[in-house]
């Protein structure tokens, strides 16, 4: 058993080396396949992260009337926070709002004078709400509208909800996100299927050149596993080498793309590549090994049939 494994391993290495051209061709094809798969991984990551940043910029602002009591404000704030769809609620008190207004209009003398004329703070408190998904803003806005209607019967609390104004841009963004995600999914699937099929075919051709040898091995009385073993090992080696090759290709590309994506998507691809290196390494090499191994097994199986 042990000598059998030893012999299979040795035959695998010798076969890899003596059929250098065939091995090189297989390694290159798997490298291309891994490059396609890796690229789709990175593009997907880029899209998801940049969309998330975009989504975080969208929010609903609720402006309270200046005369609203702190109790009423707090009760609405807590009610909104308790909603399952809400990610964060940022509260700005009347004083803070005034401070912000002052800072914003430092150089505007008329505005500052007008403010000085008033003996009371004219600004109300407000809260900024961001949802977990852009599609959830609609329901949050409806919830707030109900609160506002309810309060109107006694004394008004909410002055304005700016959802209607944001609605259009939120809707467009939601649609774009959906479309981009679907399109990239379809493209990735097509590319990956093509890459896998090309790999299968190349390895099948590589083993086709060895079909005569396989029949000779059978005639000499070699068991199927003894024939298949070296080819399986070669398939694994193709995958390993191709995985390393694809990482070597990705590295300079990431170095180059890092600053570009940083300025455009606010997401540095190079930082992602470095900080997730072991994950990317594992996925690419793993896929390469599985691709090489499975195509070898399938290709040899054809010639092992009597």
């Amino acid at each position: 058993m042990l000598t059998g494994i030893k012999r299979i391993v040795r035959a695998g290495f010798v076969g890899f080396w003596r059929n250098a051209y065939v091995s090189l061709a297989s390694v290159f094809v798997i490298t291309v396949a891994l490059f396609v798969i890796g690229s789709t991984m990175f593009i997907d990551q880029l899209l998801t992260t940049s969309l998330k940043t975009l989504q975080q910029k969208v929010d609903i602002n609720v402006y309270f009337v200046p005369s609203a009591s702190q109790d009423d404000i707090d009760s609405i704030r807590n009610a909104v926070s308790a909603l399952p769809d809400v990610a964060t609620v940022t509260y700005t008190s009347r004083e803070e709002a005034l401070e912000k207004y002052r800072q914003r209009n430092q150089d505007d003398e008329i505005a500052m004078q007008a403010l000085a004329e008033l003996d009371d703070n004219p600004l109300g408190a407000n809260i900024a709400i961001s949802a977990k998904e852009t599609s959830q803003y609609e329901s949050i806005a409806r919830f707030l509208e109900e609160k506002r209607e309810l309060a109107l019967q006694q004394s008004p609390v909410i002055d304005e909800i700016n959802y209607a104004r944001n609605k259009e841009s939120i809707d467009t963004l939601t649609k774009i996100i959906g479309a981009v995600e679907q399109a990239s999914l379809v493209t990735m699937l097509v590319l990956i299927v093509a890459a896998v099929l090309i790999t299968f075919n190349t390895i099948r051709l590589a083993i086709y050149t060895a079909r005569e040898e396989i029949s000779i091995m059978r005639l000499v009385g070699a068991s199927n596993m003894f024939i298949r073993g070296p080819f399986m090992l070669q398939g694994i080696m193709y995958g390993l080498v191709a995985g390393v090759f694809s990482l070597l290709i990705f590295y300079p590309i990431m170095v180059w793309l890092g600053p570009l994506t940083e300025s455009f998507f606010e997401f540095n691809l190079f930082t992602y590549f470095v900080s997730n290196f072991s994950y990317i390494f594992g996925v690419l090499i793993g896929i390469g090994v599985v691709l090489g191994l499975v195509s070898s097994i399938l290709a040899v199986a054809r010639y092992l049939r009597v």
Binding site: T3, G15, I216, M217, L219, V220, A222, S223, F226, V306
Partner: protein
């Protein structure tokens, strides 16, 4: 040792037959030559013995074993009892002469010590000690066939099956190959060989089976090449 019981092989069209009602047996330590025109069924007959082809009717026995009832997973074990030699040598092109012979032993699960001992012996028997590390494309036709014979005998099989072993060789190489086969037979291994070569048959003076259109038409104990 080998027993053919009324074996026929029909092709798919149902009319042409490669073998028709062939019955004969081969005793241990015999040297049997099978002669006949091309298409007479010689190669089909040998393929039946190594279980590469199945008969349409009848049975083939190796000792008490029905060859075509052997399950596919057990076939490698069965084939290790038979050494095969072919007209086109069938050497592994990416292995040296030594490795080709060693491969048959490795496939057989022999130990490294046995391989180190037996491969040089087999090479010496076919007089190729000095070509051990040459690849097949560096050898002449006669040398390739001698490597193939060394590979066939290295596992000490009970029987050697040789399909036109001299078909591609010049007269001198033919003479050498036949001498080696005769030597192997003298050492106690059964040999079944097909051939076209009249000189080989006449010189051997052993049993000759003559085939024509899938049938055995003559079976002579010390035959001559008659067609």
């Amino acid at each position: 040792m080998i027993y053919f019981d009324n074996v026929s092989k029909l092709y798919n069209d149902g009319r042409s037959a490669a073998l028709q009602e062939v019955t004969f047996q081969v005793a241990p330590k015999e040297f049997v030559s099978i002669v006949g025109h091309s298409g007479a069924g010689k190669t089909t007959l040998l393929k039946m013995i190594i279980a590469e082809d199945k008969p349409s009717h009848g049975q083939v026995f190796f000792e008490s074993l029905d060859v075509h009832q052997i399950p596919r997973t057990k076939l490698p074990h069965y084939r290790r009892k038979i050494g095969t030699v072919f007209q086109d040598f069938k050497l592994l092109p990416n292995k040296t002469a030594y490795e080709n012979i060693a491969f048959a032993m490795e496939a057989n699960g022999r130990t490294d010590e046995e391989i180190h001992e037996n491969v040089p012996q087999a090479l010496a028997l076919v007089d190729l000690d000095d070509k051990a590390w040459n690849f097949p494309h560096e050898l002449s036709g006669g040398e390739k066939q001698r490597v193939a014979i060394a590979r066939a005998i290295v596992n000490q099989p009970d029987i050697i099956v040789a399909d036109e072993p001299t078909g591609n060789l010049d007269p001198i190489a033919t003479y050498e190959v036949v001498q080696i086969l005769r030597k192997i037979n003298d050492l106690g291994t059964t040999v079944i060989m097909t051939t076209h070569n009249k000189g080989v048959i006449d010189e051997l003076g052993r049993r000759v089976i003559t085939m024509d259109e899938g049938r055995i038409v003559r079976d002579d104990e010390t035959g001559k090449y008659v067609l």
